[in-house]
Amino acid sequence: MLFLLDAGQRALADTLHAMLSAADTPAAVRDWSRGDHTRGRALWSRIAEVGVFGLAVPEEYGGAGPHPVELAVAFVELGRHAVPGPLAETVAAAVLLAEPPLAERFLPGLAAGTDMATVAAPGGCALDGDAASLRLVPAPDGLCLSTAAPGPVRRSLDPARRLTALSPAGELLTPDAPYDRALTWTRLATAAQALGVGLALLDRTVTYVRQRTQFGVPVGSFQAVKHRLADAKTALEFARPLLFGAAVSLRPAEVAAAKLTACEAAYRTARTALHLHGAIGYTAEYDLSLWLSKARALRSAWGTPEECRDLVLTDGL
């Protein structure tokens, strides 16, 4: 028993944080929101170079995985920088396509970042169908590779999430893909991303309330402000061990608990961040909006709070 990240895991986080901080990620997010994927794809390649997409892919197919703890570490950083694109969906695809002969055909491209995959949610839309090179559709016959053009883009509350309907018309890849396992990994990635979103919101808000003065003092010296931030900090710090505990066990109920808790903590932090920034926080122009809107969208992606709670109550923790 030792529940600590090791030096390599911490180094992975540091590497990604440094790379994404230097990459002007907010500009890539804004381009992506307008359907201009150029900068986003460049960012995707650099994330792939660090090895992030290989963490869900076994070595024989060009990855380094499976490494769920490292995946969680990496996705916290991707969330912290509001990186756009079908990130969790590409993890889903790697798990769905993990069996030969599909694995030989698809996994190397996913691990290398040359392919960007999306997966249609059951009965719903797919994230960034207009950007993805692999569009997967779970259909009654099995998992299909959609070759039809994706439907028109529907805007999400998070402008960086562009949703499209996918047609199952195309190639039937396999009659029985490991959907449950894929959902577990996707939820883990989403939970990590949400935690990162929450940490970024907290960080930016702490910086803001230390600088913003009213009545001659920083607003961060007021107890009403401090206590909201203390609650956000506490919620995020208690989500963190659930996330890494879930990454270790990969038990669906544990992952659902982590997903619920990280998303709720991030959303609560988003509400606090919005409020404590005052009117400037309510503008699209200010970069805070990139994280504010994502916190809401991730809350219902790949498992609503109620779906997650049901799993906890049925399977136990």
């Binding site: 529940f3 600590l4 076994p58 206590h227 900090k233 710090e237």
Partner: protein, 389 residues
């Protein structure tokens, strides 16, 4: 975790075989000894005596203070095994711990700042429940602002004389001895200086104990009136005047790992789920029951992470304040949900959840109010500027 050229992951949530053996031994002892019917309330004279006898039973087989050194009645169990013991203890439905104040507040202080003579004299009877300790921190004008305390310790031949008033002294109605802070140098330049940490006998001449009924009327705490109470030098912990620093390290322990172990909340959350199912799994409580299960697990894993940092050589700091807020709110939410599930019977004072509910109501207040903890989180973890409280 697979992969070549990588060392084994540090993130490892499995207990060692030796720790699992320890768990099995605790479980089997508890299965054989835990009273079949719950003891009377700890906050009554009869219940206090029954809980004291239970401590003696635990101590007879060295299960009362597993983390202490063997020479004081423990098992040298270490942090992880203590957590394992606590999981088994509460899962077994074992009684509340009457010696909690002494074991989780005074004992860590003695281990850190006491003399070997003090440890040898004070700890063994604490371990058996022969001497039960009350805490004497708060005063009528010193609550959250503890450094405002005015009770005096005045130098006397061979010791000190205590004079003043303490209040909200948990367990003092039936306990034997108490520990707390007293102002020994009223002329010290800062009010956090000139305080001395002392132990004293609640039956010494000059001590008047006036029990206070908590919300349900049970005398869970007391006022202490101290009128020239003599305390020998041997009952001063650390150097005179150093009491604040010493007490704050104890307060850190209280909020941190040792006051409320995760095992307690895991057991309560499991009981809550049983209750929910027994009541037909009503929809209105579904989310709250799930959230209680998740929060108890989060608290367990948070604690394992904190224990791992300690084992890795770190010291726990202001993060303990997040702990205090989290467990006290969880405890309250758990009990409120249970009462709601009981429907109209929820108001009955003899129900299985009522005593715990009344106890949980005090959680956000004692051991440093949750507002004080949030200030600490904001100022010391987030770096926000100090301001008016």
């Amino acid at each position: 975790m697979g992969g070549t050229g990588r060392k084994a992951a540090i993130v490892d949530l499995t207990h060692s075989p030796a720790d699992e053996e320890f768990r099995a031994a605790a479980r089997s002892w508890l299965a054989a000894h835990v009273p079949r019917t719950p003891l009377p309330s700890l906050e009554t004279e009869e219940g206090f005596a029954a809980h004291r006898a239970w401590e003696a039973e635990l101590a007879a087989d060295r299960w009362s203070v597993v983390s202490w050194p063997e020479r004081f009645g423990g098992r040298d169990a270490g942090l992880l095994r203590w957590l394992v013991f606590e999981e088994e203890y509460w899962a077994a439905g074992a009684p509340g711990r009457v010696g909690q104040n002494g074991v989780s507040l005074l004992a860590p202080t003695l281990f850190a700042y006491g003399t070997e003579e003090q440890r040898a004299r004070v700890l063994p009877p604490m371990a058996t429940g022969e001497v039960v300790w009350a805490q004497a921190w708060s005063e009528p004008e010193a609550g959250s602002d503890l450094a405002a305390l005015t009770s005096r310790a005045v130098r006397a031949d061979g010791g000190w004389r205590l004079r003043g008033q303490k209040t909200w002294s948990s367990r003092a109605a039936f306990a034997d001895r108490a520990f707390g802070l007293f102002r020994s140098d009223p002329d010290a330049p800062r009010r956090h200086e000139g305080l001395t940490y002392l132990m004293f006998d609640l039956r010494a001449p000059g001590v008047t104990v006036r029990p206070i009924g908590r919300l349900d009327g049970k005398p869970a705490f007391a006022e202490l009136f101290l009128d020239e109470v003599f305390v020998p030098d041997e009952d001063v912990i650390g150097a005179p005047g150093q009491g604040w620093r010493i007490a704050m390290s104890t307060a850190g322990d209280e909020r941190g790992l040792t006051l409320r172990s995760p095992g307690r909340f895991l057991a309560s959350a499991a009981r809550l789920r049983e209750l929910w199912r027994a009541r037909g799994a009503p929809e209105h409580a579904r989310a709250r029951v799930a959230d209680a299960l998740i929060a108890a697990r989060a608290y367990q894993l948070f604690t394992y992470a904190a224990a791992s940092r300690v084992l890795d050589g770190a010291r726990l700091g202001p993060e303990s304040s997040m702990n205090k807020v989290f467990w006290s709110e969880l405890d309250l939410a758990l009990h409120e949900t249970a009462l709601d599930l009981l429907g109209a019977d929820g108001e009955l004072a003899d129900g299985a959840w009522s005593e715990g509910y009344v106890f949980s109501l005090a959680g956000p207040v004692y051991a440093g109010t949750n507002e004080i903890q949030r200030d600490i989180v904001a100022e010391r973890l987030l770096g926000l500027p100090k301001g008016r409280r």
